[in-house]
């Protein structure tokens, strides 16, 4: 019996993964082409840097959301958590006057702890992620106002702080390539997240949880612990986003952040990650975030009236996902 040539299950889809990834870029490339043709101002170095810079915060948030979404969860608190972390950095650096590394560490710890709490509420108390993170979204929003004293905190006493996002380490070496650090940080976070997802046990469990949590539990895995770890990791990434936005605005704006979660989740889904969990890539999310920024930038460059910008963005989000669906169906 064993020696029957086994045609058993020939892979359904697959087809070279590289080809699929190439196609995923197509929506982005189409957009870029259209805008380049429509306006000579679009394909300028300055503007490309502006687009990348505009992607950095949403991109980092979207990467955090990607991790959570792959487990089959959702995180609505990414936006206000980002703000909370920024405010924590502000309190440490400006109110307490401590040195910059402490502010950076503080922001990331704040993100991690908040993620730990969300994760614990979800894993231990079995509160659905939507509700747990909706609650956290409100709690963090309130706390940001409370600890900042409802006013922006400026980083004027920490002169290097704005360099985190705006300086250009690359540009200081290769002046022709003034890529802002914020963009580098986005790519660094993306690489790190891709590495964790692809190469580590945590990443493996992230996919496994989204694929079949009960099967993972019955394999003797401490499901709760890993789930909490994913939310904590996502939280710490939101901490990075908090540093980016604070550095970019040279201030922690306690009122900002709500609404950012939708942009982040949209980037994730446009990037091909399934909201039902178990599948997704960081690269896809980056592309999704870029599509959103290119769209916003291009429409503004074309001076499209703002109300129409909104309409067009809505249409393109639907079309981008539909194109992805068609592509998958064909493969």
């Amino acid at each position: 019996m064993t020696d029957t040539a086994a045609p058993a299950v020939k892979t359904g889809p697959r087809i070279s993964g590289a080809f699929h990834r190439l196609l995923a870029f197509s929506g982005l490339i189409a957009l870029i082409l259209v805008f380049s043709l429509a306006s000579p101002n679009f394909m300028q170095t300055q503007n490309i840097l502006a687009i990348l810079q505009a992607t950095s915060v949403n991109g980092v948030l979207a990467i955090a959301a990607t991790l959570v979404i792959i487990t089959g969860g959702i995180d609505l608190s990414v936006g206000t958590l980002m703000t909370f972390c920024a405010v924590v950095a502000g309190v440490i650096l400006t109110y307490w006057g401590l040195p910059m590394p402490l502010g950076i560490i503080g922001a990331i710890i704040a993100g991690t702890v908040s993620g730990l709490i969300s994760g614990t509420v979800i894993a231990k108390l079995k509160v659905p992620p939507f509700i747990a993170t909706l609650g956290m979204m409100l709690i963090l929003k309130g706390l940001s106002l409370v600890i900042s004293g409802t006013r922006p905190i400026y980083f004027n006493d920490t002169p290097g702080f704005s360099q985190i996002s705006l300086g250009s380490a690359v540009g200081s070496v290769i002046p022709a390539l003034p890529i802002p650090n914020g963009v580098l940080i986005l790519f660094a976070v993306a690489l790190l997240a891709a590495f964790i997802l692809g190469k580590t046990a945590l990443g493996r469990y992230t996919f496994a949880l989204g694929s079949n949590e009960e099967a993972v539990r019955l394999s003797g895995v401490n499901v709760d612990r890993w789930k909490i770890a994913v939310y904590a990791l996502a939280g710490s990434i939101c901490g990075v986003a908090g540093l980016l936005i604070a550095s970019r605005l040279n201030s922690a704006q306690p009122a900002l952040g709500q609404g950012y979660e939708l942009d982040a989740i949209a980037a994730v889904v446009i990037g091909g990650t399934s909201l039902s969990g178990g599948r997704g890539t960081v690269l896809g999310t980056l592309i999704g975030a870029l599509i959103i920024s290119v769209l916003a930038n291009g429409l503004r460059i074309l001076s499209v009236a703002q109300e129409w910008q909104t309409v067009v963005t809505g249409c393109i989000i639907i079309l981008a996902v539909y194109a992805d669906i068609l592509r998958r169906r064909k493969l």
Partner: protein, 289 residues
């Protein structure tokens, strides 16, 4: 009752402008011995949320109410209710189409934005392209400031063209991105008017990130704008007197409770400030951090 209970329902809460109004109100409260609460919806579009706040405030049966209407009509049934309950109402920031408020403590936003237009024209040599980054497309202050600026340019400065008016919700990051797009789309742009604090800060951020040297005129104050004016990144800004608005509102409420007669309008005023006059005591007094 030894301490008056006064409920202020504002248009916003988290923005510095409103926090400055709150600070003024708190100052008056401390001075005159009153309890003041201060609430406002998340964004200046949420008219119905403001109604819920006003309704809850009425239920609390305060001694007086201060109200900055997001939409002056929507509130009329609740204002009638206040009148019926004999709770004096003071309007602040912008007027209410109704004779119920005993007085209105306000800034003329149209005139203030027109002043910004004149200053802009002066700074760019009365010709060239300019743009506006505003906070809101539908709120009263958003409409008044954009109209005030754009109409003044049209009327008085025919050689200046307003090439773009965009709205960033008062969100600094969004306003930054918008500014960068405007600058990149219009390399020959000469100036941008940022129509509220968040917008103005966003405009300066965008300008700095692109290394542009256009003229920026802002609105309101706050530590960031003051810093930008100090450093020259922003040419100047229009300031209202938010602390004064809050203070006068509470003071007027207490006056009403004590039976004083109030003028129909208490103009809290506005002024243009730049590096040269920032330190003047009367300007410094109306700026907030």
């Amino acid at each position: 009752q030894d301490s008056y209970d006064i409920a202020l329902i504002s248009k916003g809460f988290q923005h510095q402008f409103w926090q400055a109004v709150k600070a003024g109100a708190d100052k008056a409260a401390a001075e005159f011995g009153a309890n003041v609460t201060f609430e406002g919806p998340e964004t200046e579009t949420q008219v119905d949320r403001q109604m819920d706040m006003l309704a809850a405030a009425l239920s609390r049966q305060p001694d007086a109410i201060g109200f900055a209407a997001l939409d002056s009509q929507a509130a009329s049934p609740l204002l009638e209710q206040a009148k019926a309950a004999n709770i004096p109402v003071i309007a602040f920031d912008s007027g209410v189409d109704s004779d119920i408020p005993l007085t209105t403590v306000t800034t003329d936003n149209v005139a203030a934005a027109a002043m910004a237009a004149d200053k802009m024209a002066e700074l760019i040599g009365d010709e060239g392209k300019v743009a506006v980054v505003a906070h809101d497309q539908t709120s009263r202050t958003g409409i008044d400031r954009v109209d005030g600026f754009v109409n003044r340019i049209k009327e008085a400065h025919p050689n200046i063209e307003v090439v773009s008016v965009q709205y960033g919700g008062g969100d600094q990051l969004q306003s930054t991105e918008i500014t960068k797009s405007i600058l990149l789309a219009n390399p020959d742009l000469k100036g941008i008017f940022g129509a509220n604090e968040g917008s103005a800060i966003g405009v300066v951020n965008g300008k700095t990130e692109l290394g542009s040297d256009i003229v920026v005129i802002g609105f309101d104050s706050g530590a960031a704008q003051k810093g930008f004016i100090e450093s020259g990144a922003m040419a100047g800004a229009i300031t209202q007197n938010p602390v004064g608005i809050g203070y006068e509102t509470v003071k007027a409420a207490i006056g009403a409770l004590k039976g004083e007669t109030l003028p129909k309008i208490i103009d809290s005023g506005f002024a243009y400030y730049d590096k040269s006059n920032m330190a003047d005591p009367e300007i410094a007094a109306v700026l907030y951090d």
